[in-house]
């Protein structure tokens, strides 16, 4: 069980958070102009990396804010947390 440093509340137990999967997948602005394959790429395709992964997390039982997190899935080390809209750090 990790300790996650919510960018709004500070360090809290993992049980207060929920994970929202891969980060930085932007919803297409003009979905109707995409082919089936392009839309499917956005809709279904997600990475599942053993190693450093960029993830969306939500402080569900706290401030309810979404934010991004860089986590190494092989050892659960959290390299960075940053707010939505901020540039991802270089890891």
């Amino acid at each position: 069980m990790f300790v996650i440093n919510c960018p709004y509340c500070g360090e809290r137990d993992q049980s207060e958070f929920s994970c929202g999967g891969e980060a930085h997948i932007v919803r297409p602005k003009q979905p109707t102009e995409l082919s089936d394959d392009e839309w499917a790429e956005y809709l279904f395709m997600r990475k599942n990396i053993k190693g450093v992964q960029f993830e969306r997390w939500n402080h569900a039982h706290g401030c309810r804010k979404w934010f991004n997190m860089v986590r190494d899935t092989s050892n659960d080390k959290i390299h960075a947390v940053y707010k939505m809209g901020e540039k991802p750090p270089v890891i």
Partner: protein
């Protein structure tokens, strides 16, 4: 004193007698005893029968590694507990213990016949044997396996004990109260760090506390005396919490640890009453120091499992800690120096002892000490057999060949009543690996030791592979100083003298003259797996340690292979001719020792198991005989039986009343989200499939919400309260998820929108009145209000007052009837409801529950998300094309509606079904087929909702059927277990297709 209680110690109070029973017979022990030490003091070694061969088994150790001495405690009571290790349970007055795994009795056991036929029960026996004939399974094999499977008996009554959970935070957590743990805790606490020290035994000190030997001296004192002083100093430290009887269960990432404290297990039954039995500590520690110690290894030789064969250090603990001799004529069989401490201790108390050592010599101080005292040592020898059925009587030894791979010379028989064995020590690396740490294999003494990588935990003492007293003390001091960034350790100038081991030799499977197939060299004592089984698994092609483990069940018993895993690995490595370090180990999973379910669950039992949500009108429902249904965490009235009506009868009456006169439903549980902000209309445009910008203030609209994949997610009516203010309703079960989804889009995709969401589900209570007389009832409730269709049309909302209570009235309908929903602040909910009941009395207003609501909406063909949909239905599949805006550029899920897959015409689509026999009611979930002759029969759909409609006087059903849209009038079949039901596809709106009733 009994014959075997030969020593007085400070740990057992021999003035305080404690009586207990074992297998119904009464015995005495003393305060401070464990069940095992008390039994041994009475000369009892035979405790149980082994799992597979039912061989007699005795106490083998003195701790949590015990494989044999497991008992049923307090049998035939609601406090009974199986698989309790006799070596761990502290003796208390009135304790009742009994042996397990034997029938009809411990001394005469019929299962023992398995021992005689054991050549026929090799590894994988069950996998290989019970394969055929198939017909034997149900009547012969399964009952046979069930009869012999399992250890002990489960209690049949609910657990009467109280269990607790507690969260704790600290700077330093020290696991293990032996010498290295005590040194660590003292350094940490003396340096102003909030420290917790946990120890699974009832007192601190580990094995050093009874190390009463002149070869082990710390600061000019015997090591046990020195440690005793340290402990009394430790107890004076302010910022140190010492938790004894507390064992670590799990070590998770980020230093999150679970520890179980036994609070009243050791108390007599009459003193336990009312107190908490066990507490699970959830500890978040900044730094963790693991000082978990090591476990002594057995030696693997033929018939190494007889009662009276005990680990050497355990023999020493029984003697020097509990004052009990495990035998009066001892032999020690060892491959290392540590067992010599046991020999010297026995000798000094005048007990006969001889030593068999597989090494050729050893010149350490402790060995010299034994030789000087004249203890007979058989060097370069091994035990090849043991004798004695219920207790060891004698052994046979032989010389080892030069390289140790064989035996030579003649067999030599020696009498004994106890055989102490020592195969060296295994560091307890479980905690380290549970936390994600890795291991290195150390060739010289064949142990896995932790690889230090973590910044947040270290291992000290023998769990780190430091076995000699001097290195334990000095390394612990230095490592802890560095780990905690401290300059003065407090043990920097300590002087330690100790015997040092000069010769090391290890043979995983000791050689014998007889062929392996005829020996019983046990590796896993509890699961009865032998060296032969492991070799068979290898011959049959298993290579991975994880596979060999599962095939032979080695290490899979309640002791989790604490004694067996290393030998299994060693024998695999030797047989396969590979280096042991390359094999890796099996995974060490939590918990370290079994946890009770009570400790895991804590206080979350009974009414605390889950949250129960009740509406403010709940009490009225209870008083009016409602039967309740769980909807998520909500209790919703299901139906209101009168005069012993069953569900069907009550629902028929309620449904009829709602359509003929008036019905009232508690709709408070529907999810409600308050939406405000200048972009609220735009936001709704994006999350619903239909258009919202032009909805007038004071109007209501039904909305369908999709997932991005185009599948229906939720639905509900949203009301425009003001220019920038909406009230959205969701399904009861979907409320929390809908709010989360909306927040997600607002925060991550459309942060530029000016919209604010507030969950107000609990803020309002809702009474929904429907039926042709509903308008008359509303007029009585709100005499000043104009309820004409012109002033208050369908799908609109108005504010109103009952006395001083503000009400929001929505004219919306989920039943197809003329219908009003009155919302008030929750605290007025019950009062509003009672007003409605009084006002409706003259129209026989009938309260109805969820079942009637479901029936009424099904008559109208309204879907329930989650019942008629399952996450694979698009609005097009539901024939709800009318609600999908063609004009809007985008909304959540829109693009997916044009994917080739979602546009397939043979997707499952919503239809109505009418049974050919109007009295036949279909089962919800039943499968639908179009023909039965073509095999395999193709399932083309299933029934989603089914009722007998009293208003139509026939059975109706909703279903999803492949290509159903174009099947109107077609005959289909619903095959059931005993019959095939013929049905016809119909329109799914069964009643009032023209929508006349909402304006009735």
């Amino acid at each position: 004193m009994t014959k075997y209680r030969i020593n007085k110690t400070r740990f057992v109070d021999q003035t305080k007698t404690v009586s207990f029973t074992f297998d119904g017979k009464k015995y005495h022990g003393f305060e401070g005893d464990t069940l095992a030490s008390a039994l041994l003091s009475n000369g009892i070694h035979l405790i149980g029968r082994s799992f597979k061969y039912h061989r007699p088994r005795g106490i083998m150790s003195c701790g949590s590694e015990e494989p044999n001495a497991i008992c049923q405690i307090n049998d035939n009571t609601d406090l009974t507990e199986p698989n309790v290790r006799a070596t761990e349970i502290e003796l208390y007055e009135g304790l009742k213990a009994s042996s397990q795994n034997c029938w009809p009795s411990l001394n005469f056991d019929i299962g023992g016949i398995n021992n005689l036929i054991s050549p026929f029960i090799p590894a994988g026996f069950y996998y290989k044997t019970f394969m055929w004939p198939k017909s034997f399974w149900k009547k012969i094999y399964e009952p046979l396996i069930r009869l012999s499977a399992g250890l002990g008996k489960s209690p049949t009554q609910p657990d009467p004990d109280i269990y607790d959970h507690k969260h704790e935070h600290c700077d330093v957590l020290v696991i293990g109260g032996g010498i290295s743990g005590i040194i660590s805790a003292k350094i940490a606490a003396k340096n102003n760090l909030k420290t917790i020290l946990i120890e699974d035994k009832n007192i601190l000190g580990g094995s050093t506390i009874y190390q009463n030997n002149k070869n082990f001296i710390i600061d000019n004192q015997k090591s046990n005396e020195w440690l005793m002083n340290e402990i009394s100093e430790l107890e004076k430290l302010d910022n140190l919490i010492i938790k004894t009887r507390t064992s670590l269960a799990a070590f998770h990432s980020y230093n999150y640890l679970l520890a179980k404290e036994n609070i009243s297990d050791h108390l007599p039954i009459d003193k336990k009453n009312g107190s908490i039995r066990q507490r699970l500590w959830k500890i978040r520690a900044d730094k963790v120091i693991v000082a978990a110690g090591a476990i002594e290894r057995p030696l693997i030789f033929n018939n190494n499992d007889r009662p009276g064969i005990i680990l050497a250090n355990s023999v020493k603990k029984y003697l020097d800690f509990y004052g009990v001799s495990t035998g009066l004529n001892n032999i020690i069989f060892t491959n290392n120096d540590s067992a010599y401490e046991t020999a010297v201790s026995l000798f000094e108390k005048g007990i006969s002892v001889k030593i068999v050592d597989i090494r050729k010599k050893s010149s350490s101080n402790i060995v010299k000490n034994a030789e000087d005292q004249g203890i007979k040592i058989y060097w370069n020898s091994t035990v090849v057999n043991t004798f004695g059925y219920k207790k060891i009587k004698s052994i046979e030894i032989m010389n080892l060949s030069e390289d140790g791979s064989n035996v030579t010379g003649n067999k030599h028989k020696i009498q004994c009543d106890c055989l102490s064995i020592s195969g060296g020590w295994t560091p307890m690396v479980h905690m380290h690996t549970q936390s994600g740490g890795k291991l290195d294999f150390r060739e010289i003494d064949q142990v896995f030791v932790p690889t230090e990588k973590s910044e947040n935990h270290i291992n000290v003492g023998s769990c780190n592979g430091d076995f000699e007293l001097e290195e334990i003390v000095k390394n612990t001091n230095n490592k802890v100083k560095k780990f905690l960034n401290i300059n003065e350790g407090g043990f920097d100038k300590i002087s330690v003298l100790c015997s040092k081991e000069s010769e090391k030799k290890n043979i995983w499977l000791l050689p014998n003259t007889i062929s392996e197939s005829k020996t019983k060299s046990f590796i896993d004592f509890q699961n009865d797996s032998t060296a032969k089984d492991i070799k068979l698994a290898l011959r049959e092609g298993f290579k991975s340690i994880e596979h060999v483990k599962r095939y032979t069940t080695t290490g899979m018993a309640t002791d989790q292979g604490k004694l067996s895993n290393m030998h299994a690995l060693g024998i695999i490595a030797d047989t396969a001719g590979v280096k042991m370090g390359t094999l890796g180990t099996t995974t060490f999973r939590p918990p370290f020792t079994p946890l009770t379910f009570g400790a895991i669950v804590g206080r979350s039992v009974g009414k605390f198991f889950d949250i129960v949500r009740k509406t403010s009108i709940h009490e009225w429902h209870v008083q009016n005989n409602a039967k309740f249904e769980n909807v998520g965490q909500w209790k919703r009235p299901w139906y209101y039986p009168i005069n012993n009506e069953n569900l069907h009868e009550a629902v028929q009456r309620e449904s009829k009343a709602a359509r003929d006169s008036a019905g009232i439903l508690d709709a408070s549980t529907l999810g409600k989200i308050d939406i405000q902000g200048s972009d609220a209309s735009e936001f709704l445009n994006r999350v619903y499939t239909n258009a919202w910008s032009k909805l007038g203030i004071g109007k209501c609209r039904y909305g369908l919400m999709l997932n991005e994949d185009g599948m229906v997610y939720d639905d509900g009516v949203t009301t425009r309260l003001g220019e920038n203010h909406y009230l959205m309703t969701t399904t009861t079960g979907g409320a929390a998820n809908v709010l989360s989804k909306l927040e997600d889009y607002l925060q991550t995709e459309w942060p530029e929108l000016d919209v604010y969401l507030t969950s107000v589900t609990d803020h309002y209570s809702t009474a929904s009145i429907c039926g042709p007389n509903s308008k008359k009832i509303l007029k009585k409730l709100f005499p000043n209000k104009d309820f004409s269709d012109e002033a208050f049309p369908h799908m609109s909302y108005q504010d109103a007052m009952i006395d001083k209570i503000e009400c929001r009235i929505m004219r919306i309908s989920f039943t197809g009837e003329l219908s009003y929903e009155i919302n008030v602040e929750s605290k007025y909910g019950k009062s509003l409801w009672e007003n409605c009941i009084v006002a409706g009395e003259e129209y026989k207003i009938t309260p109805y529950g969820t079942e009637t609501m479901h029936l009424l909406r099904a008559e109208k063909g309204f879907i329930i998300v989650g019942q008629d949909t399952d996450g694979t239905m698009t609005p097009i599949d539901l024939q709800m094309d009318w609600i999908v805006s063609k004009k809007k550029y985008d909304f959540i899920g829109k693009r997916s509606l044009y994917r080739s897959d979602t546009m397939r015409e043979d997707r499952k689509q919503l239809v109505g079904l009418l049974t050919d026999d109007p009295n036949e009611i279909l089962e919800e979930g039943a499968q639908i087929v179009s023909e039965l002759d073509k095999k395999p029969v193709e399932m083309i759909g299933h029934v989603t909702s089914s009722y007998f409609s009293p208003n139509l006087n026939k059975s109706i059903a909703l279903a999803v059927v492949k290509g159903g849209k174009k099947m109107n009038g077609q005959k289909l079949i619903v095959p059931m277990e005993n019959k095939n039901i013929n049905v016809t596809v119909s329109d799914f709106i069964f009643l009032d297709k023209e929508n006349k009733r909402i304006n009735a």
